[in-house]
């Protein structure tokens, strides 16, 4: 095996085997981070959509409250679910572009050929 590890500090090492990458703390942290971000967003999505469905299903009086001349609360709630879902998607892409991708590139660059 070429280039044995000379320094215990991972920052000093520019090349690692795929196995070393898999075992490294920074790779594991990246995978954990990816799933914690997506689970958080998923929980928000679940909360908004199923919350909306259950609210409409269980409290018709509340969602039928008029907020305009005739417009009911149910209308902005429905629109809100759709807009919020898109915002969550955009947040994920923003995070992935800004944080995830650079880290992926950094780790990939370290892999020995």
């Amino acid at each position: 095996m070429a280039e044995p590890a000379r320094s215990p500090s991972k920052e000093m090492r520019s090349h690692r085997s795929p196995h070393e990458i898999l075992e490294s703390a920074d790779f594991k942290a990246l995978v954990r981070k990816r799933w914690s971000v997506s689970t958080t967003l998923l929980v928000l999505l679940f909360g908004s959509y199923y919350g909306f469905i259950l609210l409409v299903g269980t409290n018709k009086a509340l969602v039928s409250t008029k907020i305009g001349e005739v417009t009911t609360l149910a209308i902005p709630l429905g629109v809100g679910v759709i807009v919020f879902a898109w915002i969550l998607t955009a947040l994920y892409v923003g995070w992935a572009n800004k944080t995830y991708d650079p880290e992926v590139e950094r780790l990939k660059a370290q892999i020995k050929n």
Partner: protein, 552 residues
């Protein structure tokens, strides 16, 4: 010109005009009488898409080109194509019709059709792109024993695609009959022949561009319709709602109930179960998942979901305006719309005619036709690949098949699937097949999705666990739907003492039970007999799953 000859031939077989004289009817419509505009737009769309197919055919030689457009599709293009694949005629005509006839309930339904997209992004879009090659079964089977998992996944995939296709074909035959006055069987054969031309010669590249063309036309058509509606109400949706409630330009008023939730979510378990099927069904639709292999990498896959979510979200935001507009502006309102089609499917086309004349109706009718063609083309490609890539190449030939052989088998499978689609469409003529869309989503959410997710995230998932989960998910959804009030009651005519259709099981939407069963069985069976090779592969595969190293 032979195109004209063909159109005359078709017209001579035209069925009698669809609209029956309804007591409330105050409007006249050219619906069902093929106009010059409708025929013209239809042939224009078919001509443009066939030209695309001609050019795509030159770039479709290898299996990667046939199934995945050579991974050359950009994120924006794939975003439009995903939206095109997803926005079916059922969602365009069906949801606007539901809002027109039932008011707010249609809007609740519309939200459910969108919320799967973010979930698709968070859970599987990137790993799917990194691990797989052409189909979602590539991902499920990647670290498990190929043969059993491939067969089970392909069966789940084919069942999903088949039910979805039958629903599309039957709906499209009826729709085309209604809009163009064409004979049902002729309509089926046209859809079959044109979409086969796309898929057979142009593969995924032609199919992608057909989806893009269709998505753009559909969004333009619906946007224009929305603007025309809003123009009548000072560009203020509040005025539209007031008119619907208190008195609309067509002289009708529907009362405050039009803006309040009605019967759709009266039972919370049903409502959540329907929501689960709509949300996670998307994550198990083979023709949608397949699209992720057309982009170069996981980053492009991610971006394409954002574009698709934006386009689909916009579509579902404006569709209710069209629906309310139809109820308020079409003379005769709900009564007239329902007299032409009980489900309200003709609300949008009628509104188009009312607001901008027969020319615009022709455009909308042609767009609806293009929508059906595109969706059926995507489904056919997915159905064919489940057989040719997952069963033939991976199981029968154990992955050892030349490029030529792979493409040849894919094309044969395409023709077989296309013939089946037309045949089943004709066989089920006049049947109540609306439940089949629900069935397709239930199987997708319960058979395909749990196995796909578990194989991506759970180290201890095993071959037996995957196969058991897929079988249980599919069986529970099929059996529960067969015994539900929708099929047991409505389709097989079992009525309760109050005259309403009843099922052996009181639930219409099985997903909450069938998904839970699939996850539970996948989990228990995997724990009963650990598969060490799969666990080791899970670790080494992570470098491909998360970094994209070695991805195709």
């Amino acid at each position: 010109m032979h195109l004209t000859a063909l159109s005359q031939l078709l017209l001579s077989q035209a069925a009698p005009a669809a609209p029956a004289a309804a007591p409330l009817a105050k409007a006249e419509t050219t619906l069902g009488h093929p106009t010059f505009a409708a025929i013209g737009f239809f042939f224009l769309i078919v001509a443009v898409t066939l030209v695309i197919t001609y050019f795509a055919a030159k770039k479709t030689r290898t299996s990667s080109e046939f199934y995945a457009a050579g991974r050359s599709v950009s994120a924006l293009q794939n975003g439009f194509a995903l939206a095109g694949d997803y926005m079916s005629a059922a969602s365009f005509l069906g949801i606007s019709g539901m809002v027109a006839l039932k008011g707010y309930d249609g809007m609740i339904y519309a939200t459910g059709w969108l919320v799967g997209w973010p979930a698709l992004m968070f859970l599987i879009a990137e790993p799917l792109r990194n691990i797989g090659k052409f189909t979602f079964a590539d991902v499920v089977a990647s670290r498990l024993r190929q043969k059993p998992v491939r067969i089970a996944s392909a069966v789940g995939g084919i069942l999903t695609v088949l039910f979805y296709t039958i629903a599309q074909m039957v709906g499209s035959g009826a729709l085309i009959q209604l809009m163009f006055g064409l004979k049902y069987e002729v309509a089926e054969m046209i859809v079959g022949a044109v979409m086969l031309a796309y898929v057979l010669f142009g593969g995924m590249l032609a199919t992608t561009w057909v989806q893009i063309v269709k998505a753009v036309l559909l969004l333009i058509g619906v946007s224009f319709l929305t603007v025309l509606v809003l123009a009548k109400f000072g560009f203020n949706p509040g005025n539209l709602y007031s008119a619907v409630v208190n008195g609309a330009p067509n002289g009708l008023k529907y009362g405050q109930a039009a803006l309040e939730p009605g019967g759709l979510v009266s039972n919370p378990i049903e409502a959540v179960s329907l929501g689960l099927a709509l949300m996670f069904g998307l994550l198990g639709l083979p023709h949608i998942l397949m699209r992720f292999y057309t982009v170069p990498d996981a980053k492009a896959a991610r971006k394409s979901v954002l574009y698709a979510t934006g386009l689909v979200g916009y579509f579902y935001l404006i569709i209710p305006i069209v629906g309310f507009g139809a109820a308020a502006l079409i003379p005769g309102g709900r009564g007239f719309i329902a007299s032409i089609d009980k489900g309200g499917n003709m609300a949008s086309p009628l509104l188009a005619e009312q607001l901008a004349g027969a020319g615009f109706l022709g455009f909308i009718a042609a767009v609806a036709f293009a929508t059906i063609l595109a969706v059926v083309a995507g489904l056919t490609l997915a159905g064919a690949s489940a057989y040719s890539h997952d069963i033939y190449v991976s199981v029968i030939k154990k992955g050892r098949a030349s490029e030529d052989e792979q493409v040849r088998v894919a094309k044969i499978a395409t023709v077989v699937f296309g013939v089946f689609a037309v045949g089943l469409g004709i066989l089920f003529k006049g049947q109540n097949v609306a439940f089949m869309v629900g069935l397709a989503f239930a199987i997708a959410a319960s058979a395909n999705f749990p196995a796909l997710l578990l194989s991506v995230v759970w180290k201890r998932f095993t071959t037996n666990g995957a196969v058991a989960s897929i079988i249980v998910g599919a069986l529970v959804s099929v059996v529960m739907i067969l015994l539900s009030p929708t099929v047991w009651g409505e389709v097989f005519h079992h009525l309760g003492p109050d005259g309403k259709p009843v099922g052996i099981i009181p639930f219409k939407n099985p997903a909450i039970f069938s998904m839970a069963a699939a996850f539970l069985v996948g989990w228990v069976v995997s724990l009963l007999a650990p598969e060490e090779s799969a666990q080791r592969a899970f670790e080494t595969e992570k470098i491909r799953t998360y970094l994209g190293v070695g991805a195709e």
